[in-house]
Amino acid sequence: MSESREEHARRLLGAVAGRLALNRWLLAVAMTLLVAVGWFGSVDPVLVVAASLLLILVAALSPRSPAQRERAVRSAAADGASLEGLSARSLAAAVVDPLVVFDAAGTAVLVNDAARVAFGAVAPGLSILMKFRAPEMQAAIEHIRSGASQAETVDYAERVPIERVYRVTLSAIGQGSGLFVMAFRDQSEARRIDRMRADFIANASHEMRTPLASISGFVETLRGPARNDPAAREQFLQIMQNQTQRMARLIDDLLSLSRLEMKPYLPPGASVDVRLIVQNVIDSLSPLAAESGVVIERTFGDEPIVARGDRDELFQVFENLLENACKYGQSGGRVVVSIERTEVPEPEVAVTIRDFGPGIAEEHIPRVTERFYRVDVDNSRAQKGTGLGLSIVKHILTRHNARLTIKSKVGEGASFTVHLPAR
C-alpha cells in the first residue's frame, strides 16, 4: 500500500516537473520581472518571494494548452511512421496463409514460407503463370496484371498429391507500384467434409452389406429350421458375433481414414526417433506375433535414427505393416525389421519389414494400397482384415512426403519399405 502511494507521489512529481519544464521560458521571464519590480520598486522581498511561489504553483498545475496537445499528437504519429520502414518480407513472413507477390511480367517477387510449404517449388523469379496453370487462375492473373480489374477472387484446387482447395484473392498493391499480391485461403476442410460424407456412405454401405446379409441369413435360420438345434444355434451365434466384430473393425478403420483425410495438409515438422517408434511397435505386437507363431527379428542398433514425422501417425504405419507381415507371412515363421540411413540421392531413412510368407503376385503389387483391394478375399476375411490397412499407410506417407516401395515374389515373401525424408 505504501509502495503504491510512493509510486503515486513519484508520478505526480514527474508530472509537475514536466509542466515546469514546458513553461520554463514564460516562468523565467515572469520571475525576472518580479525580481526587477521588487528591486526597483522597493517592494517587500517577502511579497516578491510569495508572488514567485504562487507563479510556480500555477505553472505547475496549469492544464496543457490545445496547441501543446496537438504537438504531442503529431510527435506520436511520427513515432508510428516506423511501420513504413517495416520490410515487406517480414510482413509476408508473419502471414500464415500462402502469399505470393508478383510483378507486371508475372514473375514472383516475394514468396512467403507458407506458400513454399504449400506449393513446393515456388521461389522468387518463377513465372507464376507457369506454376498456377488452372484456367481460372490464368484468366485472373491476366486480368490483374493487365490492369483490367483491381481485385479478383477465384477458387484454385490442387488435386494431387493431396486434394487442396484455396480461395485466392489477387489484387494490386497500392497505386501504380507495379506489384500485385496473390493471397491463398485454405478451404480444403469444407470440401473434405463433403467428400468424406459421400465416400463414407458409398464405402460403408457397400462393405457393410456382406456381413449384414450374413447376419440376417443366420437370424432367419435360427428362427426357422434351426430353432430346436442347440449345437447349430451355438455355432450360428458364434458366426454372427464374428460378423458384428468385423463390422465394428470396418467402422473403426473407415473413421481412422476419414480422420486422417480431414487433417489439414501440413508436412510434419517435428523430428522423431524412428528407431524408438519401430521398437515400440515391435513390443506392442509381440503378443500377436507369438499367437501366430512368428518370430520378429530386428537388425538395427540402439542409437537413435532421426527423421521428420509425426510420432502417432508413424506408429500406425509401422503397426499396420508389421501386423500384416505377421498375419499374412505367418507361414514363413519369421519377420525381419531393418532400418537404414542413405544419403544418395537424398538423405532418407528406410524402414523395411520383410516377411517370408507366400508373397504377393506381381499384378497385385501396384494395387494393394487401394481401398478395399484384397489380394485374397478369403484369407483377408480369415485374418480379420478390413482392406483399409495399407490405404491408411499410404495416406499417412503421402502426408509425410514419404514413399512406400513393395518388393515381392510369389513363394519368397514380401518386403515393404518406408522411405522417410531425413533432411
Binding site: 507457369m130 496453370r133 494431387v160 497385385h364
Partner: protein
C-alpha cells in the same frame, strides 16, 4: 533469366512459355475432369471436357506458328533454340494428352449406361491419380527448371505401367465372370490405356525439359514397357 538486346525477343520467348503453361493447365484439367465424369457418370461434365479440347488444338497451332516465326525472324542460338524447339515438342505432347482426355470423356455414356459397381472404377482412379501427379510434377519442373527432380519421375512411370498391367488383368477377369460386363470393361480398358499413355507423354515432356535446360539428352536407362501385351487368362 538472361536478357537479349532486343526486348521483344525476350517477350516472344516468354509468350511461348506462358502459352504452354496455359495448355498444361487445360490438359491437366481435362484429364482430371474426364475421369471424374466417368466415376460419377456425369454426362454433362464429359460434354464440357470434349468442348474444352478445342482450346488445346488451337493453342498448339498458335504455338507452332509463333515458334516457326520466331526461328525465322530471330534465328535463335543455343539454349534459345532448344527452348523454341522444346516448346514445339511439348505443345504437341500436351495436345495429345488433351485428345486422350477427350477420348475418355467420349466413353462416359457407353460405360455408365448401366449402373456399374464402384469397385470397377477404383483402380482406374488410382491410375489416373498417378498419371496426373506425373503430369503436374513435370510441368512444375518446366516452370522451375529444377531438372534434378526428374529422377523420381521414372520410378512413377514404372508404377503406372505396373498398375496398368494389373488393371488390365482385373478387367479381363470381370469380363470372364459375366459377359454383360464386356461392354463397360472394354471401354474401361481403353480408358486405362489412354491414362497410361498420358503418363508416357508426361515422360516425353520430362525428357524434352531436361534437354532444354541441360543441353544434353536425358540418359537412357529404362526398360520402357508395360507387360499387358503378355497377359492371358487361362481357365483353371
Amino acid at each position: 533469366m538472361n536478357t537479349h538486346i532486343v526486348r521483344s525477343y525476350d517477350e516472344e520467348l516468354k509468350y511461348l512459355r506462358n502459352r504452354l503453361a496455359a495448355m498444361g493447365g487445360h490438359a491437366e484439367r481435362m484429364v482430371d475432369q474426364s475421369v471424374l465424369a466417368l466415376v460419377n457418370a456425369d454426362a454433362g461434365l464429359a460434354r464440357k471436357v470434349i468442348e474444352d479440347d478445342v482450346f488445346l488444338d488451337e493453342t498448339q497451332r498458335e504455338v507452332d506458328d509463333k515458334a516457326i516465326l520466331l526461328i525465322a525472324r530471330r534465328q535463335p542460338m543455343a539454349d534459345d533454340l532448344r527452348e523454341v524447339v522444346g516448346a514445339i515438342r511439348i505443345s504437341a505432347d500436351l495436345e495429345r494428352v488433351g485428345d486422350l482426355g477427350k477420348n475418355i470423356a467420349k466413353r462416359v455414356v457407353a460405360v455408365t449406361e448401366g449402373r456399374q459397381p464402384l469397385s470397377l472404377f477404383r483402380g482406374l482412379q488410382a491410375l489416373a491419380e498417378l498419371a496426373l501427379t506425373q503430369l503436374k510434377d513435370v510441368l512444375d519442373v518446366y516452370a522451375s527448371r529444377s531438372v534434378d527432380r526428374l529422377a523420381f519421375m521414372r520410378d512413377r512411370d514404372d508404377q503406372i505401367d505396373a498398375m496398368y498391367t494389373s488393371l488390365f488383368r482385373e478387367l479381363l477377369t470381370y469380363m470372364m465372370e459375366d459377359p454383360r460386363n464386356i461392354t463397360p470393361c472394354t471401354h474401361l480398358l481403353f480408358c486405362a490405356k489412354n491414362i497410361e499413355r498420358i503418363g508416357d507423354h508426361a515422360t516425353n515432356i520430362a525428357e524434352t525439359v531436361y534437354y532444354v535446360v541441360k543441353g544434353e539428352q536425358m540418359p537412357i536407362e529404362r526398360p520402357k514397357e508395360d507387360k499387358s501385351h503378355g497377359v492371358v487368362l487361362s481357365k483353371e
